[in-house]
Structures are given as structure tokens and as C-alpha cells.
């Protein structure tokens, strides 16, 4: 178990229990939670755990705030979508699409990294925002290639046509990549990243070229996000601006990583699970609450199911102040 | 001593994990110019910054006329009548010379008499009056920085290495200006590496090493004792002309 987790143990009984429970539920999802909706939720949890973990590499381990992460997520989705649409619903098309997407992401992330990682954090954040917007507009404008606002619907290879098989592909791939990320952050490379996050002057003085490390981390995060995008597109059999490039998704990722716990990787697991489950089931709860509050001014609107993001936003703000280490950090300290 | 304007007692300053000042004991007599000497990295600038409240003393007392100012923030310390000329000069390059001085004159319009005095020693400032201070040369910027600190009467003026990087003729100009300033009963605490300037201007002297005051006394005594100079500063005042 130690080697599997690259020595990064949960270090808290409660956390271990939660992680084990989540793993268990995800591993046996088709059997524990039959029904298309629940399986869909489980698949989304897998994808987002991976996506958020890749973002944690940037934010939590290297201390970079980037608003372009959804762009890489989208590149993965579009890569495989366009390849299948143009070629055929076969594994070779998937391979070609994935490879092309990875290359594009690598190139873009290197350009972004080298251009703007020399500047202040705030500058970088703004530039990533501009670039991501640009990409989103591009995607909706080049409708010949990307299907524009409507996106691309496509058929998938034989194996993925059965829900259960497709789910396990997503699950296993997400798990493997997640464990790979754990390996990265617990390697000497990962330790340097942490040093840079803590005090980049010191790290530079110690001889580590921070720009290089940051760029590599940036690109690694981008690549994993791209793969998450590929998985998501294959699961949904669809890719489009609103499933991948929407700024709302970027915000969701931020929420998940902060509430779960930055710089822990496991935070991504907790955060993504919490968020996706809430997104799908909390709203039902809120509907009940809202109905019960009818008649009182304003309150029913505050608890309207569409306003679930409000409460998560409040939780997010509270987390940044009082629980900067998120749920994981909180559990570890008990 | 009752004639001390400023007194530091047991002042420690920590920045991050670095412990820079280790219990500084310093007395600055009223109406005199006290020189703070020492090698690079001894903590002289940290001393001044701590007095100004730019860095918080982690322990110890800083008394201005008997009142502890160690817990005050920078604007409060400045408002008590302390002027500060940092090593980097702190000139506002985008503002004109006039605007720089205007800002420094917190308590009212620019005093004509003072301005005349300033122009007499720092003629360049008059020439560049309406031009952005960024256009000034290094020496002129230093003149402006000093002028800002004295454009209004101050109880205490802290000056950090005013002669650094300046040509000898300009240094002499500065020395003359400070000598004149001393006559106005302003108390000055000056950090200097240039020993010619130190010896000319200093009434009392304190020497720092590794965050502590290792010697305090009259400048005249130190200037006369070559062996002491050598021990404290690694070279003699003579050799540094």
C-alpha cells in the first residue's frame, strides 16, 4: 500500500476511512448504485478527481493560480471528439486524437509558462484568463471543426458502448493517473516544487531554476488535465464548450481544490466527490428546504436549488480564511 | 540620560527566520549628530527601519523623549516628528521636485525660509523645480531626499548612507549642508561607511557588529584612537580619506 501511494499516506484515521469509502463506492459503483444517473455521477467524480488533482499540482504544490486549466481539459475533449468525428469511432482514432491533444497542450502550456511565469502571480492569472477566453471563443467560432456552440456528438469504440465497460475504463484510467500524480509530488521533483511554493527566493538562491520547475509543473498539470478531458469526452460521447471550457467549470475546480485541501492530492478526491455529489443531489435537498420556507421573504430564494453555488461559494470563502488546508488538512490535524 | 532624545534598549528584530538585531542598546543625545558605523550586514539599516516602524521590534523598548514608540506603526512614528532618508532615497520619480517637497511638508505650505536654505546648498533643486524627479542625477536625488526630511522642523532625522555612490565633490557639498543643519538643533542619527564624512560630522558614535552595539562614545575619542578603529572597523579612519 505504501509504495502504491508513493509514501503519501492519508495520516488520519478519518481521512483514510473517507478515502477508502470513496474508493470502494467508485470501484463498485455499477453494482452499488445501479441506474444511469448514479453511474454518470460516479464517472464524473472519477474525471473531476483527476482534473482537480492535476490542478492541485499547480495551485497546491507550485503555488500558481491559472485560469486556463479548463482550456487543457477542453483540448483533450475536442482532440478525441474531432478525431473520431473525422476518422472513425475506433481506438486508433482515439489514440490519434489523444496524441494530438497532448501535443497541443504541451505546446500551449510551454508557451504560457515561459512567457508569463517570469512575471508576478497576478499578471499570470490575468493572462491565463485572457488566453482561456480566447480559446473558448475560438472553439465556438470554428464551428466547422468543433461543432461551435453545440459541440460534437460522436460514437465511441465497441468496448465503450456498454456503460459498465466504459465506466471501468474511466475508473481505472483515472485511478492510474491519480497514483502517477502522487508519485510525482512525492518525488524529489515534487519536494522542490513545495520549496518553491514556500519561498521562491530561497529556492532560487539554493540553485533551483524556479522558472524551469514551474514550467514543468504547469505542463504536467496541463497534460493530465488533457487526459481527463479525453476520458470525459469518451464517457459523455460528447464534447462542447459548456462541458469543458465554461468559466463556471474553472470556478468549480477552484472550489473543489480549496475546500478539499490544497497541496494534498487527497483534497482533490474529497473536494471532487463532495462537489459532484452536491451538484447532483444537494439541489434536491434544497428544493425541499425552499418549499418549506415559502412565505418568508427572500429566504426561499436563498435556498432555491439553483442557488446551490451560493452556499458552496460561502464555504469556499470560509475555507480560504479559516481552513486554508481544507477538509484534508482539518482532518489531519485532529 | 535625560538629554537623550532617542533611546533603544534591548531591541531585537526578527525578519522571517532571520534574527538580525540582538538586543541593541543605543542612546542618541539631543541636538547632536550620532554616527552609526559598522561593517556591511551589521544591522545598521535594520536599526533605522525598526525605529521607523517599518520592521517590528520583536522585543525591547524604543523611547522617543521618554515615550515608547516601539509598538507604533510607521505613519504614527513619522507624525511624531521623525524624518527618514532611506538608503534607496525613496524619491517619487513621477512627481516633480516641487511635488516631492510638497508631500513632505505635511503640516502646511512650504516655508520660504527653509526653501531658501535648501536652495543655497542644493541649487540643482531649484533648477529642476517643475521637472519630474526621475530626471535628477544620483547626487541630486540624494539632495532632494535630504531636503524632504528637513523641509519642516523635525525632532529627529534618520539618514541611511547619504554619501553612498556619490562623487567626492558632491559628498563635500552634503557634508557642508549637514554641518549647517547641525547648527539648527536638529538631532540626527546617521549611518555611514564613508569615514571622512563620519569624522567630520559625528559628535557621538556607535559601532555595530552582528546586530549588537559594540562601542559607544564620542567621535573625537574614536578618531584619535587608531588602534580602536582598527579593532572595531577593520581599518583606520586615516586610511580611508
Amino acid at each position: 500500500m505504501r509504495t502504491l501511494l508513493s509514501g503519501d499516506l492519508p495520516r488520519s484515521r478519518m481521512l483514510s476511512f473517507l478515502l477508502a469509502a470513496i474508493f470502494f463506492c467508485l470501484a463498485l459503483a455499477p453494482f452499488l448504485f445501479p441506474g444511469t444517473r448514479s453511474l454518470d455521477v460516479a464517472a464524473r467524480v472519477c474525471v473531476f478527481i483527476l482534473l482537480v488533482a492535476s490542478y492541485d499540482l499547480l495551485l497546491g504544490y507550485t503555488g500558481i493560480v491559472s485560469f486556463a486549466h479548463t482550456m487543457f481539459f477542453g483540448i483533450g475533449g475536442y482532440g478525441v471528439g474531432i478525431a473520431i468525428a473525422r476518422l472513425s469511432p475506433s481506438w486508433s482514432a482515439v489514440a490519434v486524437g489523444t496524441a494530438a491533444a497532448l501535443l497541443a497542450s504541451l505546446a500551449l502550456s510551454l508557451v504560457i509558462g515561459l512567457f508569463s511565469l517570469r512575471v508576478k502571480a497576478i499578471f499570470f492569472a490575468m493572462i491565463t484568463l485572457a488566453v482561456a477566453s480566447f480559446f473558448a471563443i475560438l472553439a465556438s467560432q470554428l464551428s466547422g471543426l468543433t461543432g461551435g456552440e453545440d459541440g460534437l456528438t460522436f460514437r465511441v469504440p465497441e468496448l465503450l458502448r456498454t456503460r459498465i465497460a466504459a465506466y471501468y475504463v474511466v475508473f481505472v484510467a483515472s485511478l492510474a493517473l491519480f497514483l502517477a500524480l502522487l508519485r510525482v509530488v512525492n518525488s524529489p521533483f515534487g519536494r522542490v516544487l513545495l520549496a518553491i511554493r514556500e519561498n521562491d527566493f530561497r529556492a532560487e538562491a539554493l540553485g533551483y531554476r524556479t522558472v524551469t520547475y514551474r514550467t514543468i509543473a504547469n505542463s504536467l498539470g496541463a497534460l493530465v488535465a488533457t487526459l481527463a478531458g479525453v476520458l470525459y469526452a469518451l464517457w459523455l460521447r460528447y464534447t462542447g464548450p459548456n462541458t469543458t471550457l465554461d468559466f463556471a467549470i474553472m470556478i468549480d475546480i477552484l472550489l473543489m481544490v480549496v475546500i478539499g485541501g490544497m497541496g494534498t492530492m487527497y483534497g482533490a478526491v474529497i473536494g471532487a466527490t463532495l462537489f459532484v455529489v452536491a451538484q447532483n443531489y444537494l439541489q434536491d435537498g434544497m428544493k425541499v428546504l425552499s418549499a418549506a420556507l415559502q412565505g418568508i421573504p427572500l429566504l426561499p430564494d436563498l435556498f432555491h436549488p439553483d442557488r446551490w453555488l451560493l452556499w458552496l461559494g460561502v464555504l469556499f470563502v470560509i475555507s480560504v480564511y479559516y481552513f486554508p488546508t481544507g477538509v484534508v488538512g482539518y482532518l489531519r490535524r485532529r | 540620560m535625560p538629554s537623550d532624545l532617542l533611546k533603544l534598549a534591548g531591541v531585537h528584530t526578527r525578519i522571517g527566520q532571520y534574527h538580525i538585531l540582538h538586543g541593541v542598546e543605543l542612546a542618541v543625545p539631543r541636538g547632536e549628530l550620532t554616527m552609526l558605523l559598522g561593517r556591511n550586514g551589521a544591522g545598521k539599516t535594520t536599526c533605522l527601519r525598526t525605529i521607523m516602524g517599518l520592521w517590528r521590534a520583536s522585543s525591547g523598548a524604543i523611547e522617543l523623549e521618554g515615550r515608547d514608540i516601539s509598538k507604533l506603526d510607521t505613519p504614527a512614528v513619522a507624525s511624531l516628528g521623525i524624518g527618514y532618508v532611506p538608503e534607496s532615497m525613496g524619491i517619487f520619480a513621477g512627481l516633480t521636485v516641487r511635488e516631492n517637497l510638497l508631500l513632505a511638508a505635511r503640516n502646511g505650505p512650504l516655508d520660504e525660509a527653509r526653501l531658501d536654505w535648501i536652495f543655497r546648498y542644493f541649487a540643482a533643486l531649484k533648477k529642476f523645480w517643475h521637472l519630474p524627479a526621475g530626471n535628477l542625477s544620483g547626487g541630486q536625488k540624494q539632495m532632494l531626499a535630504i531636503s524632504r526630511a528637513i523641509v519642516e522642523p523635525r525632532k529627529l532625522v534618520l539618514v541611511d548612507e547619504p554619501t553612498k555612490g556619490l562623487a567626492p565633490s558632491i559628498i563635500n557639498n552634503l557634508i557642508a549642508a549637514f554641518a549647517e543643519l547641525k547648527k539648527t538643533d536638529t538631532t540626527i542619527l546617521m549611518v555611514e561607511q564613508n569615514f571622512h564624512a563620519a569624522r567630520s560630522l559625528g559628535d557621538s558614535v556607535a559601532v555595530m557588529d552582528s546586530g549588537r552595539i559594540v562601542h559607544a562614545g564620542r567621535m573625537a575619542e574614536l578618531a584619535a584612537d587608531a588602534a580602536l578603529q582598527n579593532r572595531l572597523l577593520g581599518l583606520s579612519l586615516e586610511a580611508h580619506q
Partner: protein, 318 residues
């Protein structure tokens, strides 16, 4: 911002873009319409962005929730216009209401969200983004999720005809208001003690404090004023679009960031020139080749940064 030898190259750049566009567009009447539209849009962006750049220059704080003040201003103006009958007389309370609401929210925001995280850039970005989410949702709660119309008063509808050229009344009014605000800001910054303090604080906050001024207090005022301006900008922009949605803030934020980066963080002149460039580009390119309109502004940003990495008018940080 003033005196000495003023750097006129960026101003020349605006002229170049304007005249270059004439060459590409060929029909003078269309060009005039587009130029006025570009100037109007640019000036409105300037109003919205000026607060942001000063706040950043003065206190190193970047408020990612800036867009919410724009949206709030627009919504308050929409409600006020409706409440006061929608005519010319309703303009004053609508605009004032927008500014007051945005300014008040700004004060609250500074106290609750920003003050606890001074100096911690990472947390600032996160927390202001969080504030954005919460505020956006609260706007939904109060005003509902639907689009709100924001009609121009009768007197400002339609266009004035100058021979071949039709110039929308509202756009002309927007240009005038924008110029007036720029003039007011320029005057305040250059001729008042307050302005002096702000300019000096943007350059070297520590030195200003060492001169006895409480920059923190100044900052709160500048922040609130910046938010109020954003609210005004939002109200004016909402009226330009004739409709208000919560997205109105987010839509402008990308352009605002581009303007602030192009202009140089902390420089009001830079923000002004940058905004004019962006507004003109958006309209010219929007006409010539609509698909690449936003892309053209991002390209502009990249080009400007390659030429002057710290923006058109960098503010010297000692």
C-alpha cells in the same frame, strides 16, 4: 502622469490605429460611426477599469471580483430607471444609485474579503474569486436570473444625422461623460494633494507611510471610489447594450484585464490609452472580421507586452 517630457508614442498609436482603420474600411461614414462607437466603448471601459488599476498600483491588490460591481451598478440602474419612469429625469438617480450601491458594496468588500489577506497574493486571487461567486449568486437572489431590460431615455434614443453619417445620441453622450470623468480624474490626480498622495503611494507606498500618511485609509477610499466608478461604468454599459444580465461583469472583465495590462498596472493615463485602443480595435475588427474580434485584442495585448513588457506607461516602483 504629468509634466516634463510626456511620452506621446502611445497616443500616436491610437492615431495610427484610427487612421489605419480608415484605410481598411474605406467608407468614411462607416468609419466615423465605428470610431465613435469605439471611443464610446473605450471610454466606458476606461471608467470601469480605472479603479482597478489604481487599486492595484496603490496596494498591490487585484480584485478578481471587480466585475460584480459593474453588474451591481447595471442592475441598480435598471431598477432605478424603472422606478423613476425611464425618462431623462430618471438618469440622475439611476447613475447615482449605481455609484452609491457599488461604492457601499466596495467598502463592505474591502473590510470583509480583502483586508484579511493584504500581501498574500495567492489568497487574494482565491478569495476575491470566491467573493465573486457569492455576490453573483446574491444578485440572482435579489433580481432573479432573467435578463433585465435597461432602456435609454427618450431623449437619448436614435441618432443624429450629419450628412451621410449617423451618430447614435447615446454613444455621443457616453463619449462626453467618459471624457468628463477622465478630465476629473486627471485634475484630481494632478492638482490636488489627494492626487499627489495617490500618485506617490502607487510609486512607493512605504516611503509615503514614512512621511506620516496613512496609506491604508487612503486605499479604502480609492477602493470604494474605484468600485463606484465600476458601478457607473456598468450602468452606462448596460444602457449601451440596452439589457442587463449578471454576465455583464464577466464579459467586460477580460477586456478590462487586457486594458489594465496594456496600460501598465497603476497608471491612469495608460488605462485611458489602453481602453481607447481596445474599444477601437473591438469595433473596427468587429466590423471587418467579427470572428477574430476578441482575439485581436488579445493579440494587441501580446504585441504591446513584447514592445513594453510593463505596459504603455509603467509606474516606477522604487
Amino acid at each position: 502622469m504629468k509634466a516634463g517630457r510626456f511620452d506621446l508614442i502611445p497616443v500616436a498609436l491610437v492615431a495610427v490605429v484610427t487612421l489605419g482603420a480608415l484605410g481598411l474600411i474605406r467608407t468614411p461614414s462607416t468609419w466615423v460611426t465605428l470610431t465613435v462607437a469605439g471611443l464610446a466603448m473605450g471610454l466606458l471601459i476606461f471608467i470601469m477599469a480605472s479603479g482597478l488599476t489604481l487599486v492595484f498600483g496603490l496596494m498591490d491588490v487585484l480584485n478578481f471580483a471587480h466585475g460584480i460591481f459593474i453588474a451591481l451598478g447595471a442592475y441598480v440602474a435598471a431598477s432605478a430607471m424603472k422606478a423613476f419612469g425611464g425618462g431623462l429625469a430618471a438618469l440622475a438617480p439611476a447613475m447615482l444609485g449605481a455609484m452609491l450601491a457599488a461604492g457601499a458594496l466596495g467598502l463592505l468588500f474591502e473590510r470583509v474579503i480583502i483586508r484579511p489577506v493584504y500581501g498574500q497574493h495567492l489568497k487574494q486571487i482565491l478569495i476575491t474569486t470566491g467573493g465573486l461567486i457569492v455576490a453573483e449568486q446574491l444578485i440572482h437572489v435579489v433580481w432573479g436570473p432573467d435578463l433585465l431590460p435597461l432602456e435609454r431615455p427618450e431623449a437619448l434614443r436614435g441618432a443624429l444625422l450629419f450628412g451621410d453619417v449617423a451618430l447614435e445620441r447615446y454613444r455621443l453622450a457616453a463619449v462626453l461623460v467618459g471624457l468628463a470623468i477622465f478630465a476629473a480624474m486627471a485634475l484630481t490626480l494632478n492638482r490636488t494633494r489627494l492626487g499627489l498622495l495617490i500618485r506617490a503611494g502607487v510609486e512607493n507606498r512605504e516611503m509615503v507611510e514614512a512621511m506620516g500618511y496613512r496609506v491604508r485609509r487612503l486605499f479604502v477610499g480609492v477602493f470604494a471610489a474605484g468600485c463606484a466608478l465600476a458601478g457607473l461604468g456598468g450602468a452606462l454599459w448596460g444602457m449601451y447594450q440596452e439589457a442587463v444580465t449578471v454576465q455583464i461583469g464577466a464579459q467586460m472583465m477580460v477586456l478590462i484585464f487586457i486594458v489594465v495590462i496594456i496600460g501598465g498596472l497603476g497608471s491612469v493615463t495608460g488605462c485611458f490609452i489602453g481602453a481607447l485602443l481596445v474599444g477601437l480595435m473591438a469595433n473596427y475588427v468587429g466590423y471587418l472580421s467579427p470572428k477574430i474580434a476578441l482575439g485581436s485584442n488579445i493579440l494587441l495585448m501580446v504585441l504591446v507586452l513584447l514592445w513594453r513588457p510593463r505596459g504603455l506607461y509603467p509606474v516606477g516602483k522604487s
